[in-house]
Symmetry: C2
Subunit: 320 residues, 2 copies
Amino acid sequence: MTEFLGPGEPSPYLYDLVREYPSRAGKGVRPALLLATCQAFGRPSDEALGAAVALEMLHNAFLIHDDVEDQSALRRGNPTLHELHGIGLAVNAGDSLAHLAMQPLVGDRALSTRLKERLVAELLMVVRQTTEGQALDLGWRRDSVVDLDPAAYLTMAGKKTCWYSTVAPLRMGAIIGSSGTAQLHALSRFGFFLGVAFQIRDDLLDLKGGSGSGKEPFGDLREGKPTLMLIHLLATAAGDDRRWLVDYLHAAPSGSSSEGACRVHDLMVRYGSLTYARDFAAAMEVEAHRAFGKAFSTVGDSEHLGFLRGMIPYMLARQS
Amino acid sequence: MTEFLGPGEPSPYLYDLVREYPSRAGKGVRPALLLATCQAFGRPSDEALGAAVALEMLHNAFLIHDDVEDQSALRRGNPTLHELHGIGLAVNAGDSLAHLAMQPLVGDRALSTRLKERLVAELLMVVRQTTEGQALDLGWRRDSVVDLDPAAYLTMAGKKTCWYSTVAPLRMGAIIGSSGTAQLHALSRFGFFLGVAFQIRDDLLDLKGGSGSGKEPFGDLREGKPTLMLIHLLATAAGDDRRWLVDYLHAAPSGSSSEGACRVHDLMVRYGSLTYARDFAAAMEVEAHRAFGKAFSTVGDSEHLGFLRGMIPYMLARQS
C-alpha cells in the first residue's frame, strides 16, 4: 500500500492526508480475508495482492468520509482527518484515496484483463452498496426515524458494512483464486452473516467505550446511530422512557450530552436491548458457521481454509 | 446520463441527491468537446457516448464536493446540495456519483477492452489531477498564502480546471476517434491553454456577479479564492492597501463581509488586476488558437473540426 501512497505533491495539502489513516495501525481484516480466500481456492496470494491493496485503500477512503459524515472526533485513537485539516481538505483527500485505490487493481500485471474487468466491477459494486447503506444510516439519523425494525437494520448493515468488510473480500478472493469459476452466491451469504455479526459486536463494543476502541466513549449514542440496540429499545421502551428517548434523538447529535448518552445506555440495559443484540449476533454467528461450509464446499481442506474458519471467532470475539 | 441515474433505493437519501445537479441545466461543454474530437478523428460520436456520459457524471460529482469544500451556497441558481441535505448526505451522494460515473465506460459495448483500459486510466488521471489542484486551492486559502505567483496559479488551474474540463475531453475523444493511435501531447497543450483562459474568464465573470452566474455575487472574493486577479493584487498593492488585504484574507471566509469583498474589488480595479487578468486570458487564447492547429494537424478538415475551432470563442466569450 505504501508503494501506491508514495511521495507526491502537494504533500502538505493532499498526500500527507491521504497517508494518514493507512499509517495508523489497523487489523487488516479485509485483505487477510481476500488473500486467504484466494489461496483456499488454489492460487498463490501474490496474485490477489493488487486487489487486497485496492480494497484496503478504499476502506481507508471510506473512513475519511465516514468521519466527516458522522462528525466523529477520533479514529484509531487519534483525531479524525477533518479535525486535523478541516472538512474541505479531508473530503478532497478521501476522493483522492478512493480513486488511487483503483490503481493497484487496474495496473495489476498478475491478472488477466478479463479478471480485472470483473474485479473492477466488484469494487464499483462495493461503492454502490456502501454509499446506499451510508445514505440509510445518515438519512435515518437526520430525520430521527424511530420506527425501524430488525429487517431495516439488516438491509442497512448489509450494505454499509458487509459488502466492503466481508462480502467483497470473499468474492474477490474467490474470483482470483478460481480464475473466475467460483460460485459467489454462497460466499456472499457467508460474508453477510459474518459481517452483520461483526457490526453488532462492534456496536456493542462502542458501548463499553474505553481507550481500546480508539473512538469517543458512547460516540454512537451521542450521534444517535441506528444500532440494533437502539432499534430494540425504541420498539420496547414504554411511556416516559420512550418519549424522553425520542426527544433525545431529535436533539442528537448537536444537543446530546454525556448524561443523555449514559441514560440511553441505562435504558438499554434495563429493557434488555444489549442482551437482545448479543443473542442476535450469536445467532448470526451460528448462521455464519453454517454458511461457511457451503461457501467453501468445492475446495479441499488446507491451512488457508483453516485460517478462514478461524476468522469467524477472531472477528467476533475481538476486544478492540 | 439519465439512464445511469435511473430509479434506485434509497431514493430520498441518495439517488434523488445524485440526480439533483445533473437535472439542473448545464452547458455540456465537456461532452461536446469529447464527442466532437472523436468525430474529428474519424469515428462516429456514438462510440464516444459512454466516455462522454462518464466524464459529465464525474464533473457533477466534483461539483457536489467542491461546493462542500468551498462552503458555497448556490449552484446553477439554486441552493447547493449540502445546503439542501446537510454535509453528510451530500458528501455521500458525491461519492456515489463519482463511482457511478465509471459505469458508462466500463460497461460500454462499443469499445474494445484495450481502449476501455486506456480510458479508465484517463478518468483516474483526471481525479488525481483534480484532487491535487483542489488541494492547492483549499490549502492556500486555509493557510492564507499571500506570496503566490502566476506560475503557481497556472499549476493549480491546470490541475483543478483544465484536466477535467478540456484536457481529458480532448484526449479521451482522440483516443476513441483514432482507435488509440493519436498523439495526445499537442491535444493536452491545446486543452491547457483553452482551460486556463476559460478559468480566468470564469473568475472575471464572478466579479461581475448578477443572477446570470447562478452563484453568489462576489463569492470568490468572500471565499478568498486564489484567482489570478487576487495574486496580481497581492503582488502590486502597497502599504495600507496590502496590509488591509492580508488581514481580510486571514479572516476569510468566515469573517468576510460584502463591504470587504467590495473593497477588494475596488482595489483590483485601482491596481489594474482586472486588466492584467483580461490580458493574461487573451494571451492564453492566442496560444490556444496556435496550439489548436498542432493538436489537429493530422486530421482533415470537417464540420467537427470547425465546431471544435468555434468552441474557443464560444467558451471564452460566454456571459454566463
